[in-house]
Subunit: 211 residues, 2 copies
Amino acid sequence: MDENKKISSAVIRRLPRYYRYLGELLENNVTRISSKELSERMKVTASQIRQDLNNFGGFGQQGYGYNVESLYNEIAKILGIDKQHRMVIVGAGNFGSAVAKYDDFAKRGFVITSMFDKDPEKIGKTISGVKIRPMEELKDYIKMNDIDIAALMIPTEYAIDTAQILVDAGIKGIWNFAHTDLSVPEDVIVENVHLSESLMRLSYNLKNYGN
Amino acid sequence: MDENKKISSAVIRRLPRYYRYLGELLENNVTRISSKELSERMKVTASQIRQDLNNFGGFGQQGYGYNVESLYNEIAKILGIDKQHRMVIVGAGNFGSAVAKYDDFAKRGFVITSMFDKDPEKIGKTISGVKIRPMEELKDYIKMNDIDIAALMIPTEYAIDTAQILVDAGIKGIWNFAHTDLSVPEDVIVENVHLSESLMRLSYNLKNYGN
DNA sequence: ATAGACCTGATATATAATTAACACAGCTGA
DNA sequence: TCAGCTGTGTTAATTATATATCAGGTCTAT
Protein backbone atom coordinates (compact mmCIF):
# COMPACT_ATOMS: atom_id res chain seq x y z
CA MET A 1 0.00 0.00 0.00
CA ASP A 2 1.31 3.39 -1.04
CA GLU A 3 1.30 5.34 2.20
CA ASN A 4 1.27 8.65 0.39
CA LYS A 5 -1.74 8.18 -1.82
CA LYS A 6 -5.01 9.16 -0.22
CA ILE A 7 -7.67 6.52 -0.83
CA SER A 8 -10.99 7.89 -1.97
CA SER A 9 -13.83 7.66 0.49
CA ALA A 10 -15.94 5.93 -2.16
CA VAL A 11 -13.54 3.01 -1.94
CA ILE A 12 -13.62 2.94 1.86
CA ARG A 13 -17.41 2.89 1.83
CA ARG A 14 -17.28 -0.31 -0.21
CA LEU A 15 -14.58 -2.18 1.69
CA PRO A 16 -16.79 -3.47 4.53
CA ARG A 17 -19.17 -4.91 1.97
CA TYR A 18 -16.37 -6.80 0.24
CA TYR A 19 -15.37 -8.03 3.67
CA ARG A 20 -18.87 -9.27 4.37
CA TYR A 21 -19.12 -11.15 1.09
CA LEU A 22 -15.71 -12.71 1.52
CA GLY A 23 -16.70 -13.80 5.03
CA GLU A 24 -19.75 -15.55 3.62
CA LEU A 25 -17.67 -17.26 0.93
CA LEU A 26 -15.23 -18.40 3.57
CA GLU A 27 -18.07 -19.89 5.62
CA ASN A 28 -19.14 -21.80 2.53
CA ASN A 29 -15.61 -23.12 2.08
CA VAL A 30 -15.01 -21.29 -1.17
CA THR A 31 -11.24 -20.99 -1.51
CA ARG A 32 -10.87 -18.83 -4.62
CA ILE A 33 -12.91 -16.28 -6.46
CA SER A 34 -12.47 -14.12 -9.54
CA SER A 35 -13.44 -10.48 -9.70
CA LYS A 36 -15.97 -11.46 -12.33
CA GLU A 37 -17.79 -13.96 -10.17
CA LEU A 38 -17.70 -11.71 -7.12
CA SER A 39 -19.01 -8.86 -9.24
CA GLU A 40 -22.02 -10.94 -10.25
CA ARG A 41 -22.84 -11.81 -6.67
CA MET A 42 -22.40 -8.25 -5.44
CA LYS A 43 -24.03 -6.55 -8.42
CA VAL A 44 -21.09 -4.27 -9.14
CA THR A 45 -18.60 -4.27 -12.01
CA ALA A 46 -15.57 -6.52 -11.94
CA SER A 47 -13.53 -3.52 -12.96
CA GLN A 48 -14.52 -1.68 -9.82
CA ILE A 49 -13.55 -4.57 -7.60
CA ARG A 50 -10.12 -4.86 -9.20
CA GLN A 51 -9.58 -1.11 -9.05
CA ASP A 52 -10.64 -0.91 -5.43
CA LEU A 53 -8.41 -3.73 -4.27
CA ASN A 54 -5.47 -2.48 -6.24
CA ASN A 55 -5.40 0.66 -4.17
CA PHE A 56 -3.95 -1.50 -1.44
CA GLY A 57 -1.82 -3.92 -3.41
CA GLY A 58 -2.01 -6.75 -5.90
CA PHE A 59 -3.77 -9.45 -3.97
CA GLY A 60 -4.87 -11.46 -6.98
CA GLN A 61 -3.18 -13.68 -9.46
CA GLN A 62 -3.68 -13.83 -13.19
CA GLY A 63 -5.49 -16.88 -14.39
CA TYR A 64 -6.53 -17.76 -10.84
CA GLY A 65 -8.32 -14.89 -9.16
CA TYR A 66 -8.17 -14.09 -5.46
CA ASN A 67 -7.65 -16.42 -2.56
CA VAL A 68 -10.71 -15.85 -0.40
CA GLU A 69 -9.12 -16.36 2.98
CA SER A 70 -6.06 -14.24 2.40
CA LEU A 71 -8.06 -11.45 0.81
CA TYR A 72 -10.45 -11.56 3.76
CA ASN A 73 -7.54 -11.17 6.13
CA GLU A 74 -5.95 -8.42 4.08
CA ILE A 75 -9.14 -6.37 4.13
CA ALA A 76 -9.38 -6.84 7.89
CA LYS A 77 -5.89 -5.40 8.16
CA ILE A 78 -6.73 -2.50 5.87
CA LEU A 79 -9.82 -1.71 7.93
CA GLY A 80 -7.86 -1.97 11.15
CA ILE A 81 -10.15 -4.67 12.54
CA ASP A 82 -7.38 -7.22 12.83
CA LYS A 83 -6.88 -6.00 16.36
CA GLN A 84 -9.23 -5.04 19.16
CA HIS A 85 -10.72 -1.64 19.80
CA ARG A 86 -11.81 -0.59 23.26
CA MET A 87 -15.08 1.28 23.29
CA VAL A 88 -17.36 2.98 25.81
CA ILE A 89 -21.02 3.78 25.38
CA VAL A 90 -22.04 7.24 26.48
CA GLY A 91 -25.75 7.22 27.30
CA ALA A 92 -27.43 4.11 28.71
CA GLY A 93 -30.76 4.80 27.05
CA ASN A 94 -32.61 2.55 24.64
CA PHE A 95 -30.08 2.65 21.84
CA GLY A 96 -27.07 2.58 24.13
CA SER A 97 -28.45 -0.50 25.84
CA ALA A 98 -29.26 -2.14 22.51
CA VAL A 99 -25.68 -1.71 21.35
CA ALA A 100 -24.36 -3.04 24.66
CA LYS A 101 -26.52 -6.14 24.34
CA TYR A 102 -25.62 -6.76 20.73
CA ASP A 103 -22.65 -9.07 20.83
CA ASP A 104 -21.76 -8.92 17.14
CA PHE A 105 -19.64 -5.84 17.69
CA ALA A 106 -17.55 -7.63 20.29
CA LYS A 107 -17.11 -10.50 17.83
CA ARG A 108 -15.64 -8.04 15.34
CA GLY A 109 -13.19 -6.80 17.96
CA PHE A 110 -15.05 -3.77 19.28
CA VAL A 111 -15.01 -4.45 23.00
CA ILE A 112 -17.36 -2.43 25.17
CA THR A 113 -15.71 -1.86 28.51
CA SER A 114 -18.13 0.53 30.21
CA MET A 115 -21.25 2.63 29.84
CA PHE A 116 -21.93 6.08 31.23
CA ASP A 117 -25.13 7.85 32.17
CA LYS A 118 -26.24 10.81 34.23
CA ASP A 119 -29.32 9.10 35.67
CA PRO A 120 -28.57 8.02 39.28
CA GLU A 121 -31.13 5.23 38.92
CA LYS A 122 -29.03 3.57 36.25
CA ILE A 123 -25.59 4.11 37.73
CA GLY A 124 -24.09 0.98 39.23
CA LYS A 125 -26.32 -1.33 37.23
CA THR A 126 -25.02 -3.68 34.61
CA ILE A 127 -26.19 -4.37 31.07
CA SER A 128 -24.88 -7.53 29.48
CA GLY A 129 -22.02 -7.51 31.93
CA VAL A 130 -21.15 -3.89 31.21
CA LYS A 131 -21.23 -1.57 34.19
CA ILE A 132 -22.90 1.84 34.05
CA ARG A 133 -20.80 4.59 35.59
CA PRO A 134 -21.64 8.23 36.30
CA MET A 135 -20.90 10.85 33.65
CA GLU A 136 -18.46 12.54 36.03
CA GLU A 137 -16.10 9.59 35.69
CA LEU A 138 -16.16 9.56 31.88
CA LYS A 139 -13.11 11.71 31.29
CA ASP A 140 -10.81 9.94 33.72
CA TYR A 141 -12.04 6.53 32.66
CA ILE A 142 -11.11 7.18 29.04
CA LYS A 143 -7.70 8.45 30.02
CA MET A 144 -6.93 5.54 32.33
CA ASN A 145 -8.33 2.66 30.32
CA ASP A 146 -6.90 3.11 26.87
CA ILE A 147 -10.26 3.72 25.19
CA ASP A 148 -10.22 4.35 21.44
CA ILE A 149 -13.87 4.86 20.62
CA ALA A 150 -16.85 6.44 22.34
CA ALA A 151 -20.35 5.71 21.08
CA LEU A 152 -22.28 8.92 21.68
CA MET A 153 -25.89 7.94 22.28
CA ILE A 154 -27.41 10.78 24.24
CA PRO A 155 -30.02 13.41 23.36
CA THR A 156 -28.94 16.07 20.90
CA GLU A 157 -28.92 18.89 23.43
CA TYR A 158 -26.10 17.32 25.45
CA ALA A 159 -24.12 15.94 22.55
CA ILE A 160 -21.85 18.88 21.81
CA ASP A 161 -20.76 19.44 25.41
CA THR A 162 -20.22 15.75 25.96
CA ALA A 163 -18.19 15.47 22.78
CA GLN A 164 -15.93 18.17 24.19
CA ILE A 165 -15.36 16.06 27.29
CA LEU A 166 -14.44 13.13 25.05
CA VAL A 167 -12.00 15.27 23.10
CA ASP A 168 -10.44 16.62 26.30
CA ALA A 169 -10.03 13.04 27.49
CA GLY A 170 -8.06 12.25 24.35
CA ILE A 171 -10.60 10.03 22.62
CA LYS A 172 -9.56 8.91 19.14
CA GLY A 173 -12.92 8.28 17.52
CA ILE A 174 -16.56 9.12 18.13
CA TRP A 175 -19.42 7.01 16.82
CA ASN A 176 -22.06 9.69 16.79
CA PHE A 177 -25.74 8.76 17.00
CA ALA A 178 -26.84 12.25 18.08
CA HIS A 179 -28.66 14.37 15.52
CA THR A 180 -26.07 17.04 15.29
CA ASP A 181 -22.68 17.69 13.74
CA LEU A 182 -19.74 17.65 16.09
CA SER A 183 -16.82 19.93 15.59
CA VAL A 184 -13.68 18.30 16.85
CA PRO A 185 -9.95 18.53 16.06
CA GLU A 186 -9.18 16.89 12.75
CA ASP A 187 -7.27 13.98 14.24
CA VAL A 188 -10.40 12.95 16.14
CA ILE A 189 -12.49 10.84 13.79
CA VAL A 190 -16.26 11.18 13.80
CA GLU A 191 -18.48 8.60 12.16
CA ASN A 192 -22.08 9.72 12.04
CA VAL A 193 -25.09 7.43 12.25
CA HIS A 194 -28.02 9.70 11.65
CA LEU A 195 -30.98 7.34 11.67
CA SER A 196 -33.59 9.97 11.02
CA GLU A 197 -31.71 11.11 7.92
CA SER A 198 -31.67 7.54 6.73
CA LEU A 199 -35.45 7.38 7.14
CA MET A 200 -35.85 10.62 5.20
CA ARG A 201 -33.87 9.23 2.28
CA LEU A 202 -36.10 6.17 2.36
CA SER A 203 -39.10 8.49 2.27
CA TYR A 204 -37.69 10.38 -0.72
CA ASN A 205 -37.06 7.20 -2.64
CA LEU A 206 -40.51 5.85 -1.81
CA LYS A 207 -42.04 8.98 -3.21
CA ASN A 208 -39.95 9.07 -6.35
CA TYR A 209 -39.19 5.49 -7.23
CA GLY A 210 -41.70 3.46 -5.25
CA ASN A 211 -44.86 1.78 -6.48
CA MET B 1 -39.05 20.36 -10.36
CA ASP B 2 -38.33 18.68 -13.64
CA GLU B 3 -40.08 15.35 -13.28
CA ASN B 4 -37.94 13.73 -15.95
CA LYS B 5 -34.50 14.45 -14.63
CA LYS B 6 -33.14 11.89 -12.21
CA ILE B 7 -31.65 13.55 -9.15
CA SER B 8 -28.27 12.21 -8.16
CA SER B 9 -28.11 10.23 -4.96
CA ALA B 10 -25.32 12.50 -3.74
CA VAL B 11 -27.85 15.32 -3.62
CA ILE B 12 -30.43 13.19 -1.80
CA ARG B 13 -27.84 12.22 0.79
CA ARG B 14 -27.39 15.89 1.62
CA LEU B 15 -31.02 17.01 1.70
CA PRO B 16 -31.82 15.78 5.22
CA ARG B 17 -28.85 17.71 6.51
CA TYR B 18 -30.06 20.92 4.91
CA TYR B 19 -33.41 20.19 6.47
CA ARG B 20 -31.86 19.81 9.89
CA TYR B 21 -29.93 23.08 9.66
CA LEU B 22 -32.96 24.96 8.40
CA GLY B 23 -34.99 23.56 11.30
CA GLU B 24 -32.41 24.88 13.72
CA LEU B 25 -32.43 28.30 12.07
CA LEU B 26 -36.21 28.33 12.25
CA GLU B 27 -36.09 27.57 15.97
CA ASN B 28 -33.75 30.51 16.39
CA ASN B 29 -36.18 32.75 14.54
CA VAL B 30 -33.87 33.35 11.61
CA THR B 31 -36.09 34.32 8.69
CA ARG B 32 -33.64 34.52 5.81
CA ILE B 33 -30.29 33.03 4.91
CA SER B 34 -27.90 33.22 1.98
CA SER B 35 -26.19 30.22 0.49
CA LYS B 36 -22.92 31.78 1.61
CA GLU B 37 -23.85 32.00 5.25
CA LEU B 38 -25.41 28.55 5.27
CA SER B 39 -22.30 27.18 3.60
CA GLU B 40 -20.13 28.55 6.39
CA ARG B 41 -22.30 26.99 9.07
CA MET B 42 -22.47 23.65 7.30
CA LYS B 43 -18.87 23.57 6.09
CA VAL B 44 -19.77 23.01 2.47
CA THR B 45 -19.44 25.28 -0.55
CA ALA B 46 -22.14 27.83 -1.31
CA SER B 47 -22.01 26.64 -4.88
CA GLN B 48 -23.03 23.16 -3.84
CA ILE B 49 -25.99 24.41 -1.85
CA ARG B 50 -27.26 26.47 -4.77
CA GLN B 51 -26.72 23.61 -7.22
CA ASP B 52 -28.45 21.11 -4.95
CA LEU B 53 -31.50 23.26 -4.34
CA ASN B 54 -31.79 24.21 -7.97
CA ASN B 55 -32.43 20.60 -8.86
CA PHE B 56 -35.86 21.13 -7.39
CA GLY B 57 -36.60 24.71 -8.35
CA GLY B 58 -35.52 28.27 -7.74
CA PHE B 59 -36.39 28.80 -4.12
CA GLY B 60 -34.11 31.76 -3.57
CA GLN B 61 -34.16 35.38 -4.56
CA GLN B 62 -31.30 37.46 -5.84
CA GLY B 63 -30.09 40.04 -3.39
CA TYR B 64 -32.07 38.41 -0.58
CA GLY B 65 -31.22 34.75 -0.25
CA TYR B 66 -33.62 32.04 0.87
CA ASN B 67 -36.59 32.34 3.14
CA VAL B 68 -35.85 29.85 5.91
CA GLU B 69 -39.39 28.76 6.65
CA SER B 70 -40.48 28.27 3.07
CA LEU B 71 -37.28 26.46 2.12
CA TYR B 72 -37.73 24.22 5.16
CA ASN B 73 -41.23 23.36 4.01
CA GLU B 74 -40.15 22.83 0.43
CA ILE B 75 -37.49 20.34 1.47
CA ALA B 76 -40.02 18.50 3.60
CA LYS B 77 -42.20 18.16 0.51
CA ILE B 78 -39.28 17.01 -1.61
CA LEU B 79 -38.37 14.38 0.97
CA GLY B 80 -41.98 13.28 1.25
CA ILE B 81 -42.10 13.93 4.99
CA ASP B 82 -44.88 16.47 4.71
CA LYS B 83 -47.30 13.62 5.24
CA GLN B 84 -47.33 10.63 7.55
CA HIS B 85 -45.84 7.23 6.89
CA ARG B 86 -47.17 4.13 8.57
CA MET B 87 -44.44 1.77 9.73
CA VAL B 88 -44.14 -1.58 11.43
CA ILE B 89 -41.14 -2.96 13.28
CA VAL B 90 -40.24 -6.53 12.46
CA GLY B 91 -38.28 -7.98 15.36
CA ALA B 92 -38.93 -6.85 18.93
CA GLY B 93 -35.36 -7.31 20.06
CA ASN B 94 -33.07 -4.69 21.51
CA PHE B 95 -32.85 -2.45 18.47
CA GLY B 96 -36.49 -2.91 17.52
CA SER B 97 -37.54 -1.91 21.01
CA ALA B 98 -35.18 1.05 21.00
CA VAL B 99 -36.71 2.36 17.79
CA ALA B 100 -40.22 1.83 19.17
CA LYS B 101 -39.37 3.81 22.27
CA TYR B 102 -37.70 6.62 20.39
CA ASP B 103 -40.43 9.15 19.75
CA ASP B 104 -38.46 11.40 17.40
CA PHE B 105 -39.45 9.28 14.42
CA ALA B 106 -43.15 9.72 15.21
CA LYS B 107 -42.55 13.46 15.47
CA ARG B 108 -41.21 13.42 11.92
CA GLY B 109 -44.31 11.61 10.72
CA PHE B 110 -43.11 8.01 10.83
CA VAL B 111 -45.86 6.39 12.87
CA ILE B 112 -45.18 2.95 14.27
CA THR B 113 -48.43 1.00 14.35
CA SER B 114 -47.27 -2.45 15.38
CA MET B 115 -44.33 -4.70 16.12
CA PHE B 116 -43.86 -8.35 15.21
CA ASP B 117 -41.83 -11.12 16.78
CA LYS B 118 -41.67 -14.90 16.76
CA ASP B 119 -41.00 -15.23 20.48
CA PRO B 120 -44.26 -16.30 22.23
CA GLU B 121 -43.02 -14.62 25.40
CA LYS B 122 -43.10 -11.23 23.72
CA ILE B 123 -46.32 -11.59 21.75
CA GLY B 124 -49.19 -9.62 23.23
CA LYS B 125 -46.93 -7.31 25.17
CA THR B 126 -46.69 -3.62 24.48
CA ILE B 127 -43.67 -1.37 24.05
CA SER B 128 -44.34 2.36 24.29
CA GLY B 129 -47.95 1.69 23.43
CA VAL B 130 -47.08 -0.44 20.43
CA LYS B 131 -48.43 -3.98 20.50
CA ILE B 132 -46.27 -6.97 19.59
CA ARG B 133 -47.99 -9.42 17.27
CA PRO B 134 -46.91 -12.86 16.05
CA MET B 135 -44.91 -13.14 12.84
CA GLU B 136 -47.70 -15.16 11.28
CA GLU B 137 -49.90 -12.05 11.24
CA LEU B 138 -47.29 -9.86 9.57
CA LYS B 139 -48.38 -10.36 5.99
CA ASP B 140 -52.07 -9.79 6.54
CA TYR B 141 -51.45 -6.87 8.87
CA ILE B 142 -49.45 -5.03 6.23
CA LYS B 143 -52.10 -5.64 3.62
CA MET B 144 -54.98 -4.56 5.81
CA ASN B 145 -53.44 -1.53 7.53
CA ASP B 146 -51.96 0.50 4.73
CA ILE B 147 -48.37 0.10 5.91
CA ASP B 148 -45.65 1.83 3.83
CA ILE B 149 -42.49 0.91 5.64
CA ALA B 150 -41.19 -2.11 7.53
CA ALA B 151 -38.15 -1.77 9.76
CA LEU B 152 -36.36 -5.09 9.48
CA MET B 153 -34.59 -5.67 12.79
CA ILE B 154 -34.09 -9.39 13.04
CA PRO B 155 -30.99 -11.61 12.90
CA THR B 156 -29.33 -11.95 9.51
CA GLU B 157 -30.30 -15.57 9.02
CA TYR B 158 -34.02 -14.78 8.93
CA ALA B 159 -33.78 -11.49 7.06
CA ILE B 160 -34.03 -12.71 3.49
CA ASP B 161 -37.05 -14.94 4.05
CA THR B 162 -38.82 -12.27 6.07
CA ALA B 163 -38.11 -9.68 3.41
CA GLN B 164 -39.88 -11.96 0.97
CA ILE B 165 -42.95 -11.97 3.20
CA LEU B 166 -42.85 -8.19 3.25
CA VAL B 167 -42.59 -8.02 -0.52
CA ASP B 168 -45.47 -10.50 -0.91
CA ALA B 169 -47.54 -8.35 1.40
CA GLY B 170 -46.97 -5.39 -0.90
CA ILE B 171 -44.66 -3.36 1.34
CA LYS B 172 -43.31 -0.20 -0.30
CA GLY B 173 -40.09 0.33 1.63
CA ILE B 174 -37.79 -1.67 3.89
CA TRP B 175 -35.54 -0.05 6.45
CA ASN B 176 -32.98 -2.81 6.67
CA PHE B 177 -30.87 -3.21 9.80
CA ALA B 178 -29.91 -6.80 9.03
CA HIS B 179 -26.34 -7.44 7.87
CA THR B 180 -27.23 -8.66 4.46
CA ASP B 181 -28.29 -7.36 1.09
CA LEU B 182 -31.91 -7.90 0.18
CA SER B 183 -32.95 -8.58 -3.35
CA VAL B 184 -36.40 -7.22 -3.96
CA PRO B 185 -38.34 -5.93 -6.98
CA GLU B 186 -37.08 -2.54 -8.05
CA ASP B 187 -40.18 -0.66 -6.98
CA VAL B 188 -39.61 -1.79 -3.41
CA ILE B 189 -37.17 0.61 -1.83
CA VAL B 190 -34.49 -0.66 0.53
CA GLU B 191 -32.58 1.68 2.80
CA ASN B 192 -29.73 -0.09 4.53
CA VAL B 193 -28.44 0.74 8.00
CA HIS B 194 -25.42 -1.44 8.39
CA LEU B 195 -24.06 -0.44 11.78
CA SER B 196 -21.12 -2.80 11.73
CA GLU B 197 -19.99 -1.37 8.39
CA SER B 198 -20.17 2.08 9.90
CA LEU B 199 -17.92 0.93 12.75
CA MET B 200 -15.45 -0.55 10.27
CA ARG B 201 -15.19 2.75 8.42
CA LEU B 202 -14.55 4.44 11.74
CA SER B 203 -11.82 1.91 12.40
CA TYR B 204 -10.24 2.54 8.99
CA ASN B 205 -10.22 6.28 9.53
CA LEU B 206 -8.80 5.90 13.03
CA LYS B 207 -5.95 3.88 11.64
CA ASN B 208 -5.19 6.18 8.73
CA TYR B 209 -6.09 9.65 9.89
CA GLY B 210 -6.25 9.40 13.65
CA ASN B 211 -3.73 10.56 16.21
C1' DA C 1 5.45 -29.81 -22.55
C1' DT C 2 2.24 -26.76 -24.64
C1' DA C 3 -2.05 -24.60 -26.58
C1' DG C 4 -5.70 -22.21 -25.19
C1' DA C 5 -8.57 -20.24 -21.72
C1' DC C 6 -8.57 -17.45 -17.74
C1' DC C 7 -8.07 -13.34 -15.17
C1' DT C 8 -5.24 -9.79 -13.17
C1' DG C 9 -3.20 -5.04 -12.89
C1' DA C 10 -2.57 -1.11 -15.55
C1' DT C 11 -3.94 2.30 -18.58
C1' DA C 12 -7.33 4.78 -21.20
C1' DT C 13 -11.92 6.46 -21.66
C1' DA C 14 -16.36 7.94 -20.14
C1' DT C 15 -19.39 9.63 -16.76
C1' DA C 16 -20.57 12.05 -12.50
C1' DA C 17 -19.92 15.33 -8.91
C1' DT C 18 -17.96 19.44 -7.21
C1' DT C 19 -16.30 24.01 -7.49
C1' DA C 20 -15.67 28.40 -9.82
C1' DA C 21 -17.19 32.23 -12.53
C1' DC C 22 -20.38 35.58 -13.83
C1' DA C 23 -24.50 38.09 -15.82
C1' DC C 24 -28.11 40.31 -13.99
C1' DA C 25 -32.43 40.59 -10.94
C1' DG C 26 -33.85 42.44 -6.77
C1' DC C 27 -32.74 44.55 -2.37
C1' DT C 28 -31.07 48.37 0.61
C1' DG C 29 -29.89 52.75 2.31
C1' DA C 30 -29.15 57.55 1.53
C1' DT D 1 -35.48 57.36 -6.55
C1' DC D 2 -31.46 55.45 -7.77
C1' DA D 3 -26.52 53.92 -7.16
C1' DG D 4 -24.30 50.37 -5.48
C1' DC D 5 -24.54 45.93 -3.27
C1' DT D 6 -25.93 41.37 -2.68
C1' DG D 7 -26.71 36.88 -3.91
C1' DT D 8 -29.17 33.93 -7.04
C1' DG D 9 -29.39 30.64 -11.02
C1' DT D 10 -26.76 29.17 -14.75
C1' DT D 11 -23.00 27.77 -17.41
C1' DA D 12 -18.16 26.51 -17.55
C1' DA D 13 -14.09 24.31 -15.62
C1' DT D 14 -12.17 21.12 -12.66
C1' DT D 15 -11.84 17.13 -10.08
C1' DA D 16 -13.39 12.59 -8.74
C1' DT D 17 -15.34 8.20 -9.71
C1' DA D 18 -16.63 4.41 -12.56
C1' DT D 19 -16.21 1.61 -16.62
C1' DA D 20 -13.86 -0.38 -20.64
C1' DT D 21 -9.89 -2.19 -22.77
C1' DC D 22 -5.96 -4.98 -23.20
C1' DA D 23 -1.10 -6.91 -22.72
C1' DG D 24 0.69 -10.50 -20.73
C1' DG D 25 1.33 -13.82 -16.61
C1' DT D 26 -0.66 -18.15 -14.77
C1' DC D 27 -3.48 -21.97 -14.72
C1' DT D 28 -5.55 -26.23 -16.73
C1' DA D 29 -6.29 -30.10 -19.60
C1' DT D 30 -4.32 -33.03 -22.59
